[in-house]
């Protein structure tokens, strides 16, 4: 007697979250919170670099955006970008953030920027261009929020505001997009992603 319960054909990727997806997403977000915390206490040391043109501080803002892209690349479920960015924001708020509770709104908007890109590809593509676009999306949404919604920089001229948006979008592409993509491939090589849909990320085509 041999009943093999192997499925007849390839199943389409399921969009529902399993427990392991939820918990790993949460822990990626919480680790990001730890990294935010380490970053929080050091990044003002870099401020002198940006004194010449203050909007250029946005060049390192991608550090706040990577959980969204990394979470989505690793978990590959609808809502992963949003969930990871929100929980990371929640952790940094609970640890004490200079942005107070507004960090939750920022997290929501940044997460939506990345989520929109993954949704546009129907959660089927997780290659380098999509990762870079998602980083750009998070940077664009986040910077428009900073400059035109929360208006953290009322003293900036319009030109400076747009420079800020451009810088944060670039930062999103490089730090949140590229680094998250490389990190996902490196994580897949360690076998740590064995329980997830991204387990083969290291051998998938880059483009």
């Amino acid at each position: 007697m041999s009943t093999t319960n192997q499925p007849a054909g390839p199943k389409t990727a399921t969009t529902s979250w399993r427990v392991v997806d939820i918990v790993i997403a949460a822990v990626i977000a919480v680790s990001s919170g730890v990294i935010f915390w380490a970053w929080n206490s050091t990044h003002h040391l870099l401020d002198f670099l940006f004194l010449a043109f203050p909007p250029s501080t946005a060049l390192v803002s991608g550090m706040w955006l990577f959980p969204a892209v990394l979470g989505a690349l690793v978990i590959r479920k609808p809502g992963a970008a949003l969930f990871c960015e929100l929980v990371a924001a929640m952790v940094s708020a609970l640890m004490g953030s200079e942005f107070g509770l507004t960090v939750l709104t920022s997290g929501l908007i940044q997460g939506l920027g990345a989520e929109a890109v993954f949704a546009a590809f129907r959660y089927r593509k997780f290659n380098l261009p999509v990762a870079l676009l998602a980083g750009a999306g998070a940077g664009l949404f986040g910077s428009v929020n900073d400059t035109f919604i929360f208006r953290w920089y009322p003293e900036y001229t319009t030109g400076m505001l747009f420079a800020y948006i451009a810088f944060m979008t670039i930062s999103g592409i490089v730090i949140a997009g590229l680094l998250s993509f490389l990190a996902t491939r490196a994580l897949a090589k360690t076998g740590a992603l064995g329980a997830l849909a991204s387990r083969k990320a290291a051998t998938e085509p880059i483009l």
Binding site: S2, V20, A26, I28, S31, L51, F148, A192, G194
Partner: protein, 789 residues
């Protein structure tokens, strides 16, 4: 607010889940499982029958699929397009998928067996997921804690428990679910000998009471074998190799011999190595500790004090002591990885070779050629992508003391890598990713990477934990060779046989705190945990959602307007409200100073670039500060501060568990996501600790925190990556724990009810009033300055 006494049910409990299950039988019919990321099935063609109430020990070489069988029975293996089963696996004659609530599972890593922050909540977690009525859960918590002999208050933080206590807590959580089958996957592999017996006794006592069927996988069989009805030995990739009573299989005979050659720790067996004679100190003195006191954190509590040790070449030391006696901290301090709390750690002229004598002050690249430290978790020390690079890394980075000259030439490095690969039988894995090796291979590699740069002193923390008998023997032989070559070895170990095999002198640390509690790894309070005084304060007893709403209402005018009047009013109101959070000004500043600093940075930036008007106050070349820009700077800084500090009132007084309960019960967010995030947050303290450990583990490999900006950046990114790997591994185990406890379905009950009261209405009203008052005052004084215009 929430309290265990206010009981509340969200959903109707299915009838069968309310009762404790009767003992369950297990049967497999030609069953097999293939994991998604493997070419070969973990198990194939398994036929098995276990009677209800039977106690069975699963043994076999690593890779025989023992854990896979347990996970399948616990219902945490899922089929998808790459992972699938064959045949049938039945509980009481029905497929395992329908066995929710019948089965409890405990894994090896104590840290990921705990889901909640408080002892009572953690015991309740599984029963809540099975929709057991809260009043019944409250009863079961008391019974379960009693059955495992864990006598701590229900509110006790789970992070403050020792490893053995955590495993007993996990068992209590399983018992509270009332399962008919208990599965234990190496439940004591991470524990010291006292912890092993403590957990073993709790398991046996609890099962004597419930009569549940027991299936256990263990490496070290001695403690468990006498309590088992039957032993089943699995064959790698196949079915059952042998089965019988413990006496039949472990008594002298062919089976015993076969098990021994597969590396199984059969009772009464220690790998035969002639004891190394303790020759006494004969070599040159290398390292000296004098009146040493050690602490995990600079200025933190002293873990052990009054330590004197003189380590000579070719000498072995075993460091023993109970949990929390500061063994690991002592080893890290000797290894030049932690600064001493007081006293001295000095390298002799022989070891220092003319440079600085204090190892802690050596650069990482100077350290690796002199003192090597092997950490308990091998993965903490992996820094490259292949086994061969891993071995070459240390020698390639090692420098001569006090210089930047390489210690080894390229041909020397290559020959060292070749010889270590051969000596440790890792040659076929030279190009493999270190993280993908088996447990025993990882251990051998982590020792080899440190030996590669031939340190004169080698320090190892629990090198034999969780290792099979074959790896144990190889390690012992390898270290004996090193001793013969004149290396000094210090091993923190509970393993008396291992110490004997090394011919080690004994160094015993007294336990200051006794066995309860875990001062060595710290109780980790503070982070993400409401302050004790804050929790008992007026705001501490309020519903978290009311506090969040109040802060949001008060923040609206700050976001809308850039003016110093509304901001100052909110800052003032927050300071006046500090007593409601149980906070004094100094305690507030102790936590809130970074926020103040950030506000000052914001003010400074605006003062520099803001629209200039009025008199120039300070001229810095391109930028200047004028009266106009200074006023704008003050408004910016005050606004930033006002946005930040009301949140301090919330974070000082809000327990994340209460927040999660409120979000799931009152805000109606999906509880799977809320509780998943909460469980992740519980790992935060652990991850911060892991970050620190990673820093030390990488320094021991020669990755320094000093150097050029590029080097530091690379070192930091490497450490971030290491943290992510560990975080995801822990998360995977935590997910198994949660799922095995029935988590993930739609209906559940809640032990703690989240409710609104008058206090909460008053808090929301206060927030609304403050927001309105701030707006009114700014308008009245003419400073209102809408940011969107």
């Amino acid at each position: 607010m929430s309290s265990p006494s206010m009981l509340h049910r969200e959903a109707d409990a299915p009838g069968q889940a309310r009762r404790l299950s009767a003992p369950v039988s297990v049967s497999a019919r030609n069953w097999g499982w293939r994991h998604a990321d493997r070419a070969q099935p973990a198990l194939w063609g398994l036929d098995l029958d276990i009677r209800a109430g039977e106690r069975v020990l699963l043994a076999g070489p690593s890779g025989a699929g023992k854990s896979t069988l347990l996970y399948a029975l616990a219902g945490v293996l899922h089929e998808d397009d790459e992972a699938y089963s064959s045949g049938e696996l039945l509980l009481d004659g029905t497929p395992v998928a329908q066995g929710r609530g019948l089965v409890g599972l405990m894994q090896q890593d104590p840290e990921t067996q705990v889901v909640q922050a408080r002892v009572g909540d953690d015991v309740a977690f599984g029963a809540e997921n099975l929709s057991v009525p809260p009043e019944e859960i409250a009863r079961r918590i008391v019974d379960a804690l009693d059955a495992v002999g864990l006598d701590v208050p229900l509110e006790h933080p789970t992070a403050a428990l020792s490893g053995g206590q955590k495993q007993r807590l996990a068992l209590a959580g399983i018992l509270a679910m009332g399962p008919g089958l208990v599965l234990l996957d190496e439940p004591t592999a991470n524990l010291d000998p006292a912890g092993v017996l403590e957990v073993r006794d709790a398991v046996i006592r609890a099962l004597d009471a419930t009569g549940a069927t027991l299936l256990i996988v263990e490496h070290r069989l001695e403690a468990w074998a006498p309590h088992m009805d039957r032993v089943i030995v699995l064959e790698p990739g196949g079915g059952i190799a042998h089965e019988g009573t413990p006496d039949e299989l472990f008594g002298p005979g062919a089976v015993r011999g076969e098990l021994i050659s597969a590396g199984v720790w059969v009772p009464g067996y220690t790998p035969a190595i002639e004891a190394r004679p303790n020759t006494g100190s004969s070599g040159a003195l290398l390292l000296e500790a004098g009146s040493l006191a050690v602490a995990r954190k600079r200025g933190g509590p002293v873990a052990a004090g009054g330590l004197e040790m003189r380590v000579a070449a070719g000498e072995a030391w075993s460091v023993r002591g109970a949990n929390g006696s500061g063994k690991s901290t002592f080893a890290l301090t000797l290894g030049g990885l932690l600064p001493q709390a007081s006293g001295t750690v000095l390298a002799t002229a022989e070891l220092a070779a003319g440079s600085e004598a204090r190892p802690y002050h050596w650069r990482a690249t100077e350290l690796v050629g002199r003192i090597g430290s092997v950490f308990q978790e091998p993965e903490h020390q992996f820094v490259t992508n292949t086994v061969a690079e891993e071995l070459a890394f240390g020698p390639a980075h090692a420098v001569k003391p006090g210089t930047r000259e390489p210690l080894f030439t390229q041909p020397e490095i290559e020959s060292r890598v070749e010889s270590l690969l051969a000596r440790l039988r890792l040659g076929h894995l030279a190009e493999a990713n270190p993280f993908t090796l088996s447990g025993g291979e990882k251990r051998r590699l982590s020792v080899a990477t440190v030996l590669a740069s031939s340190p004169q002193v080698l320090i190892l923390d629990e090198p034999t934990f969780g290792q099979d008998a074959n790896t144990w023997r190889e390690l012992a032989l390898l270290l004996r060779e090193e001793l013969a070559h004149g290396t000094a070895i210090i091993a923190v170990t509970h393993d008396a046989d291992f110490a004997r095999a090394l011919g080690a002198n004994e160094f015993v640390l007294d336990a200051p705190g006794g066995r309860d509690g875990n001062p060595e790894t710290g109780a980790r309070p503070g982070l993400l945990q409401a302050d004790a005084r804050g929790g008992a304060s007026f705001l501490g007893r309020a519903n978290p959602l009311a506090k969040l709403a109040a802060v949001a209402l008060a923040t609206i005018p700050l976001v809308a307007s850039m003016d110093w009047v509304s901001s100052s009013l909110v800052v003032l109101a927050t300071i006046l409200a500090l007593p409601l959070a149980g906070l004094s000004i100094p305690r507030f500043l102790a936590r809130g100073w970074p926020l103040l600093l950030a506000a000052l940075f914001g003010a400074w930036g605006t003062a520099l670039v803001g629209n200039d008007s009025g008199a120039v106050l300070l001229d810095l070349g391109i930028f200047d500060i004028t009266e106009g820009s200074l006023a704008a700077g003050a408004a910016t800084g005050m606004r930033a501060f006002a946005v930040a500090i009301p949140a301090v009132l919330v974070l000082f007084t809000t327990d994340p568990t209460d927040l999660a309960n409120a979000l799931a019960q009152k805000a109606r967010l999906p509880h799977r996501f809320v509780l998943g995030a909460l469980a992740g947050m519980r790992l935060l303290g652990l991850l911060i600790e892991e970050w620190t450990t990673l820093g030390m583990a990488r320094r021991a490999r020669g990755v320094g925190s000093r150097g050029s900006v590029g080097q530091r950046m690379r070192a930091n990114l490497g450490q971030v990556f290491g943290l992510l790997v560990q975080a995801i591994r822990r998360a995977s185990r935590l997910a198994v724990t949660m799922e095995a406890k029935g988590f993930g379905t739609n209906a559940r009950t809640w032990l703690r009810t989240s409710a609104y009261g008058r206090r909460d209405a008053a808090i929301v009203a206060a927030g609304l009033l403050l927001g309105a008052a701030a707006t009114w005052a700014a308008l009245a004084l003419g400073t209102w300055n809408l940011v969107w215009t």
